[in-house]
Amino acid sequence: MEALKLKLKQQIIEALNLQDTKPEDIDDNAPLFGEGLGLDSIDSLELMVLLERNYKIKVEDPREGRKILQSVQSMAEFIMSKQAA
């Protein structure tokens, strides 16, 4: 789980071109959208692409996506649950 979260953080930084942000700057439970990292709805689409390209997980419904993409923690949990299934 910890390794997955670190990897996710690196992937998020790369995919969203978050220059000057390091993995350790992102708190596992901090909200990715709004306050936290200040991401928006286009970022959320890009994060869904990240899940699809790297983890072969397809999120169809943007409303479902919002729940999964709340934080690095929620993303990691979702990936684990999908991989366990």
């Binding site: 286009i42 689409l45 692409v49 943007p62």
Partner: protein, 407 residues
């Protein structure tokens, strides 16, 4: 400034869409409540049997025939759609020789000839490959279709193309009307043309706002749009010029407004600020109050965001007296750059045939709104003033007011 007060009349119309190859066929489909949405026959995409579209029922070869061309050489589908609509528009205005009077041609397009260039793009990039496909290189941009149509029909005075995403052809109509009011031309033919492409289907799909079902504007269960294709042009003339040549006015373009949301690159503001201002100012310009409006042809794409925003704007502007409103996109799909002109023609038809078009596929009111669209075909319904909305990416909003002439 007397000149600025000159009225701008609609004296001709031509169109092609998923529900018909000319205005009359479109009218019949609207009246029969017959949708044109289905799976694509002509676009090469993996989404072909998954994402429904509003495709024009003719192949490009058939379109060339309709346009009186020997074959499709050098003409993209975008151009062919436009040419078919343009020829009908000029015919219906009784214009035999468009070059006789200095006439502006204000076209609209979102991706130009992409429908054809995307098929050969990687051949173009391959220096080893030669062939007739090289003729299509210059069709990559938006100007190509405009100039081909202009050259085929003899329009030369002001030739240009507007691209403001989904509001493009509404802005083309506005700009043409303003050229007339400024006294630069007596006549302008304005509208837009749009062909379905793998590029746009994948683009909207990547935004996750295409519904796999037939689109359901203003329904609580809506989940996105269906793309469509088509072309539509309206002949605009100054009132004095139309009278001099004894043209038959079909309606008046009595008001217009363009605003920007300045909210987000692809989403409108939740309270519909831009839509509200566009409609309000367009009515004000036409000397009309909200109570004068009998029908609103809404943008109504059936995306989650648009319908909330536009619906809130309607509630704010019209209060408890929201007139009949419907989205005709369940008939045609969202034809992007052509949508504003196609729906302007549907607005003229509403006035001239005294009918209000139904909003298909609606069952449940949205929880955010207290209004619902008109779901029945209303016949013998007095329509004098119509508001037609077109809103797009980049926050580009446009509202047109189309009025019965001589009321």
């Amino acid at each position: 400034m007397d000149r600025m007060a000159e009225r701008v009349l609609i004296t001709g119309m031509g169109m092609i869409s998923a529900i018909g190859n000319n205005v009359e066929e479109n009218f019949r489909s609207l009246r029969a409540q017959r949708s044109g949405i289905g799976y694509s026959r002509f676009v090469d995409t993996i989404h072909r049997n998954v994402l429904p579209v509003g495709e024009v029922k003719c192949s490009s070869e058939e379109l060339a025939k309709l346009a009186g061309l020997p074959d499709t050489t050098g003409f993209t589908r975008t151009t062919l759609l436009g040419l078919v609509a343009m020829q009908e528009a000029l015919r219906s205005a009784g214009i035999n020789d468009a070059a006789e009077t200095p006439t502006a041609f204000i076209n609209a397009s979102t991706v130009g000839g992409m429908c054809d260039t995307e098929k050969i793009y990687f051949d173009i990039l391959d220096p080893q490959k030669e062939g007739t496909f090289l003729q299509l290189i210059d069709t990559l941009d938006c100007a190509d279709c405009t100039q081909r149509i202009a050259d085929e029909t003899g329009l030369t005075a002001y030739v240009t193309t507007i691209s403001t995403a989904c509001s493009s052809s509404a802005n083309a109509l506005m700009y043409g009307a303003r050229l007339i009011r400024a006294g630069l031309v007596d006549r302008a033919v304005c509208g837009g043309t749009e062909a379905l492409t793998r590029f746009t289907i994948n683009g909207f799909n990547s935004l996750k706002n295409i519904d796999k079902r037939h689109c359901m504007p203003f329904d609580n269960d809506r989940n996105g749009l269906n793309l469509g294709e088509g072309a539509a042009y309206l002949v605009l003339e100054s009132e004095s010029f139309a009278q001099r040549r004894k043209a038959r006015p079909m309606a008046e373009l009595s008001g217009w407004c363009n605003t920007n949301e300045a909210f987000h690159p692809t989403s409108p503001s939740p309270e519909g600020d831009g839509a509200f201002e566009a409609m309000r100012k367009a009515l004000e310009m036409g000397g009309l109050s909200p109570a004068d409006v009998q029908y609103v042809n809404v943008h109504g794409t059936a995306t989650l965001n648009n319908d909330v925003s536009e619906g809130r704007a309607l509630e704010r502007l019209f209060g408890n007296e929201v007139p009949a409103f419907s989205s005709t996109k369940p008939f045609t799909g969202h034809t992007l750059a052509a949508a504003g002109a196609i729906e302007a023609i549907y607005s003229v038809l509403a006035i001239n045939r005294q009918m209000i078009w139904p909003n298909l596929n609606f069952t449940t009111r949205m929880e955010e709104l207290r209004i619902s669209p008109e779901t029945r075909l209303l016949e013998e319904s007095p329509v004098k003033n119509v508001v037609s909305n077109s809103f797009g990416f980049g926050g580009n909003n446009a509202s047109l007011v189309i009025s019965k002439y001589g009321n």
